[in-house]
Amino acid sequence: MALKIADEPVTGDVGVHSQHAAVLHAVKHAAHLLPSQGPITVFVHHNTLHAFEDLDFEKGVEAGGRLYACHAYLTEEKYRQMLSRGRIRVADLEAVLIDDLADEAALFVALFGTRYALRLAMMQFPFLTGPDEELRWMIAETDALRRFRPEVEPSIRDQMINETRKWVLRDLQENTTARKPAIDVVGDVWEQFDRRSIESWSDQAWETLVLNFLWRVCERGVRLAYEQLPLREAQQESRRHRDALMRVTGEDADILVHDVLIPFCAAYVDQGFADWELPDRHDGFYASFLQLYGNSFASPTRWMGKLHGEARRLLDSGQGPLESIEESLGLLGVNQTERDEFIAQSLLALRGWAGMIWQLETEAEWAPWPVPEGCLIEYLAIRLILDRLAVAQVAQEAIGFNGPLSDLRAEAARHARMQASNPSDGRVFPVFHLAQVRGWKPEDLQHLSQEHWVTLVREINEFSALERRRVFHLAFERKYRNEILDAVIAHAKSRRADPVGDPKPTRKSTVPDYQIVCCIDDREESFRRHLEECDPRCETFGVAGFFGTAMYYKGVADAHFKPLCPVAVKPLHYVVEEPLFSMQADADFRAGARRRLGHATHQAHYRSRTFLGGVITTLAGSLAAFPLVARILFPRLTARIRRWAGGMVRPPMTQLRLERLDPEPGQSNGQLGYSIDEMANIVEGVLLAIGLKGRWSRLVAFLGHGSSSLNNPHESAYNCGACSGSRGGPNARAFAQMANDFRVRTRLAQRGLTIPEDTVFVGGYHDTATDSVTFADLDRLPVSHRNDFLRLSATIAEVRARNAHERCRRFVSARLDLSPLDALRHVEGRAEDLSQARPEYNHATNALCLVGRREWSRGLFLDRRAFMSSYDPSQDDIRGTILEGILRPVIPVCAGISLEYYFSTVDVEGYGCGSKLPHNITSLVGVMSGAASDLKPGLSAQMTEIHEALRILFLVETTPEVIARIIRENEQISRLVDGNWVQLAVFDADTSTIHRYVDGEFVKHEPESHELPQVASSFDWYRGRRDNLGVAEISSS
């Protein structure tokens, strides 16, 4: 290498190389900050602030909020609403504040009381904030200076009035020595009152006087304080030229840039929607952009002309993207020290699109139109070219700046207007309000020195809105956490003392009539609860919904394999569904019919948008009026007709190709499926994990789940998270078939896990939107077990209606007095309704994850807020190997769901994807809001509207030692748990004690209450209620 470039100036070349490396490094680093959601068809819940997981939660949300200009917590107003509705109690605020302040709680703030008391008052009582104009209006036009605030306690109010009256009559009326300083402060206010009739003043008049005095004193004090305090804390300045210009001129150079960049990005990442492919797409982002903008004719406007000239120049000079980035940075005057940050900010300016490019480049090799490596660099090169052209144009038009762009930021700063230098009324209000609620009398305040005022104002400023929201958030979490932990303790105690229902610990040997294994999903909590309520003789389990069966799966009517396992797992095995061997001919015929229909639909789909095809389709378009009206006015009927018509081409009965013939797994014919040993491993793993051993029912049902809906680009997000956003039915079906296989059972028996001969497994699928349950391979059910199955399906029929009924309480459009059957019809209708923006509420309200035996949680009403994973510590070894296997996927997956909901809830426009209503599917990879916008990752307002932003609480049945080891040895778990992105507690079922994991220590939880409300059934508890419900004990299960 050194020899090769010997002729050239070595240092220069090395310099260029290292500079390129620096740019590459900066881009890679910034890419990490981009949204990590890939194409929307594979929606995986993940922590929106994944990039900040190295930090502690509180630091992370602040840093993330600052970077993305998003909210870190809910708004203060929302928390205050919760406070007034009792979702947060004052006791929680007190406890959290004491905890938060630790030793500083008792610190005295000048003469104003303890820091704790001040902060509590600031939390408890809202004070007005807003633009100065609004506050000035408040003073002039409202009762702010005539009446005490409503939350001021009457005793404080009376005392203040009385004391002030005394003071006024004593000091101000008479010509005493104390009069002079007081008059200096409040003199002009005093002048405005009619003092002659002071003896006969009403209380009203006194109140007004007190408040006016108070305002005047506070105003003076705050002014004194700001003589020594900085008016505005130094804000982190954005480095982009566009922001500097925007601050000065209000003109947004990004509008120009995005008008070009958004359509081009969309065209570049298009996965096959547009009829015409982007020319020269295969040359890469950078080259095809330059070709498109540099090669076509000169453009009609100045901006377009400039762009054309620049693209032409770059094409002619043959500059690559990295050189171009260097050049742009140089022209913009970005120096080495700020380079990384500048690049990050430039990429984040359109973070949805940049993130999608990065995702397609790195994670989506399966995409039909993949994006080559290095695309994000090329994107940045183009972005910077556009940025500098647009900035130059705006600068010239708005402030007549024609100099080199490297001077632009300095020039813009010169243009920036001076900030107003008076402490505004806005800063007086908090003090004024605090004085009222804390009962600070004007008489006392007027004597305070400047230092005192400085201390007070600084104290108030330090407890900023962000800090208050943080404390509110902690208090909110505390309320829910204590409620749940208390309930679990009380419930476990009461069950031990008075074991009602099945299975009783004393009758542990008695076998439940049947066992049902569901996904750990929070939506299955109510399903399982209703099963146990309907039929107390059944037992339910929860396990990650791919049932250990990681596979690429292709259904009989599917075109492609799709992974059915958590995203972190890369499946090795391929499974296909095929028609029964005897029905092959029929199946082929139907497949042919489907193919012809598919082609016809496809033709109609895109021809209707063309010239001639459009004429033909639209002349006959009146026929579309029938499906249009029918589908919207009669969705359920239409769906039934469509199903009936679809039945003619639906594939006939099928089976899974599960057993592999060749030694190595793969996609070709003989390589499909698993070997018997692999099957045995899968079955053993799952059965051990859920602790199903020794107590076998005759029938064990496994239910995968998914969700059906129409007009829903986010459909994948509603499906099973453990199946990469697909439906988990095939996994349950495959698992049941494996577990029924006698060869598998033989092998398991050899390993000491004997499944009795009369235990039969069935696989099924639960649709969480319509609450339908379908079972697979029923023809293989032994005749001896038909009655067991009929009993099971009768229970499920009842449970479906009950579950639908409980879900309907959340849908405002469903009346509260629906019967269970009507509720079932209602939820079925939702999934088939084109106009339904909320087919179901998905994971909204999730807040809890229980890992342990069902015994101690059975009969608890958890309001569909809990993920529940079964685990029996008595069957685990001392190190907790099984538990580790469970938690390794469960903690990251549940944390991902919880945190994605958290962030999309606290800032639905910034972190989430905003309202669903104007969504516009683009390039088949994501949604924009309206005609053209950044790509919107995250969850929509309709998905999160009933969610409560909480960090998930894991409650694991194990010992502190075991969990400490698991945290220590699993980096991913440790990041989440030690970084406080999730909450964790361990439960000891024998002693009914709970230890919370707080900053690496285990702290025993002391229950606040030992009573749990008891009701006969879930229905009795939720009846007539739409909001979040507390925990109750259901006696019928």
Binding site: T41, C70, H71, P131, R232, E233, R247, F264, A267, G272, F273, A274, W276, Q291, Y293, N295, S296, S299, T301, R302, A465, A559, H560, G598, H599, T601, H602, H605, T610, F611, T617, T618, L619, A620, G621, A624, P627, L628, V629, L633, L710, P713, S813, D833, L834, S835, Q836, A837, S915, K916, L917, P918, N920, T922, S923, L924, G930, A931, A932, Q942
Partner: protein, 463 residues
């Protein structure tokens, strides 16, 4: 009850029901008692059903009695004899207006039912339905108008409600920007329309279509004005139609209008509003027939828009823009058909196109699922063989065409650069002159608004 009374009553029902709906919604929010979602939906359904029944009744009676032209007079509302001006409220039910009115009610009814669920729990629910009622009334009035001033009234209401619905999500900047753009284009169209209407008044002494079109029910009327007058008035009306139907050179607003909730995009830009320009041309078709030049201009504009639309539709990668340009293509063809002297075919085309496009728009969010199920049915990725002319056109020209289509024909950019900018420059110059003058008079800074801060400071709102 004789036949005339029956016609009158039915006609009145058709017009009154949307007016009553608008009045009720407007009044309830005006007095601070906003209606609940359920009642809004019910009232809307009732109004649409009533209107639909009324128009179907009229259709039935017209078929039975073989009457082809049924006027419903509501008298002169403004009468200034000295100025030869009257505001004459009159509605006609004929072969053109009745199918169009029925289409309006069917589509609006469907969209209303759709929206009542789609917008559930939305803060702007009432606002949407207020605009919806405004739109419904505008459409009904414009469709059934018997005089040009009545048509203008409906035309304005439709324009207003459309622009407001584009800007429905007014908390984000883009919808507002685009809503304003739509509104601006509409104003230009309105201005042209207004001038045309006044010219017609001058030429014929009244805005009555009957007086204007001479004898005979639609489409057999014969214009009673000279060919050159027809050309000048017709060109103005063509300009108005072009603005409303997003024909060249105004096409740029159509994809930008996709900012509102999906159903409003469907009803306004996919189906009804976008056809209003074509409807206007159909209504004044006798004028077209009076001037060959005018007809040629109509055909040319229609075809140009259709070609442009189909090209632009091919490069769009988002579903709503693709559908918007597909709509434009068909509207262009419809306009061209009208220019060719066809009457019933464009009407059928409008109705078919409106229904199909509405369905497609409402299903737009299903695109991914549709692609998925088509792929599954076919058993492979969806591919299309490159169409013939793509294979024939050389590379360089294709890049060219792609660029033009992608930039949407540069229509917006050209309008901005060569119409809007000079216009703004002129007004800014006037503003500067005025400021100088007032500064001189007041002897110092005379504008308080200069002091206003650009961005109200709110350091703690974020985070």
């Amino acid at each position: 009850m004789n036949l005339d009374t029956a016609f009158f009553m039915l006609g009145l029902t058709v017009v009154i029901s949307p007016s009553a709906l608008l009045a009720m919604m407007g009044a309830s929010s005006l007095v601070g008692l906003p209606l609940s979602e359920r009642w809004l939906a019910r009232f809307t359904q009732a109004a649409v059903a009533l209107g639909l029944v009324g128009s179907l009744g009229i259709l039935f009676l017209m078929l039975v009695t073989d009457q082809r032209n049924v006027p419903v007079e509501l008298g002169n509302w403004v009468l200034i004899p000295e100025q030869h001006f009257q505001f004459h409220l009159k509605f006609i039910f004929d072969r053109l207006s009745v199918p169009f009115a029925i289409l309006t009610f069917v589509l609006c009814g469907t969209i209303g039912a759709f929206t009542s669920r789609y917008l559930h729990r939305e803060a702007g629910y009432g606002r949407f339905f207020l605009f919806y009622a405004l739109f419904l009334l505008g459409m009904t009035v414009a469709t059934l108008a018997g005089t040009i001033e009545t048509l203008f009234l409906g035309w304005e209401l439709v324009g207003l409600s459309s622009a407001l619905l584009v800007a429905y999500f007014h908390e984000r900047p883009n919808p507002v920007r685009n809503g304003q753009r739509v509104w601006t284009v509409y104003r230009i169209a309105d201005a042209a329309f207004l001038i045309a209407a006044i010219s017609l008044h001058h030429l014929t002494g009244a805005g009555d279509f009957e007086a204007l079109m001479g004898s005979g029910p639609w489409p057999e009327g014969v214009a009673s004005i000279s060919s050159s007058h027809a050309l000048s008035v017709g060109l103005l009306l063509l300009l108005a139609a072009a603005g409303k139907s997003a024909l060249i050179p105004f096409s740029g607003w159509l994809p930008r209008a996709m900012e509102g909730p999906t159903p409003s995009s469907a009803v306004f830009y996919g189906s009804l509003s976008v056809h209003l320009g074509a409807y206007l041309l159909l209504r004044v078709s006798p004028i077209l027939e009076a001037s060959l030049l005018l007809s040629l201009a109509v055909v040319a504009l229609g075809l140009a828009s259709a070609v442009f639309g189909s090209m632009a539709a091919r490069v769009q990668v988002d579903i709503k823009s693709a559908l918007a340009f597909a709509s434009l293509t068909q509207v262009g063809i419809i306009v061209a058909e009208i220019g060719c002297g066809l009457r019933y075919i464009p009407l059928i085309h409008i109705i078919g196109h409106a229904c199909l496009r509405t369905l497609q728009f409402l299903r737009a969010p299903t695109l991914l699922q549709d692609y998925h199920s088509m792929e599954n049915a076919i058993g492979a990725r969806l591919t299309r063989p490159p169409s013939l002319w793509v294979r024939l056109v050389p590379d360089r020209a294709r890049t060219w065409l792609y660029r033009i289509s992608m930039e949407r024909g540069f229509l917006d950019t050209i309008l901005d650069e060569y119409v809007v900018k000079p216009f703004l420059a002129l007004f800014r110059w006037s503003d500067r002159m005025e400021r100088r003058w007032t500064d001189l008079l007041s002897g110092g800074e005379s504008r308080e608004s200069d002091e206003a801060k650009l961005h109200p400071a709110s350091p703690e709102e974020f985070l």
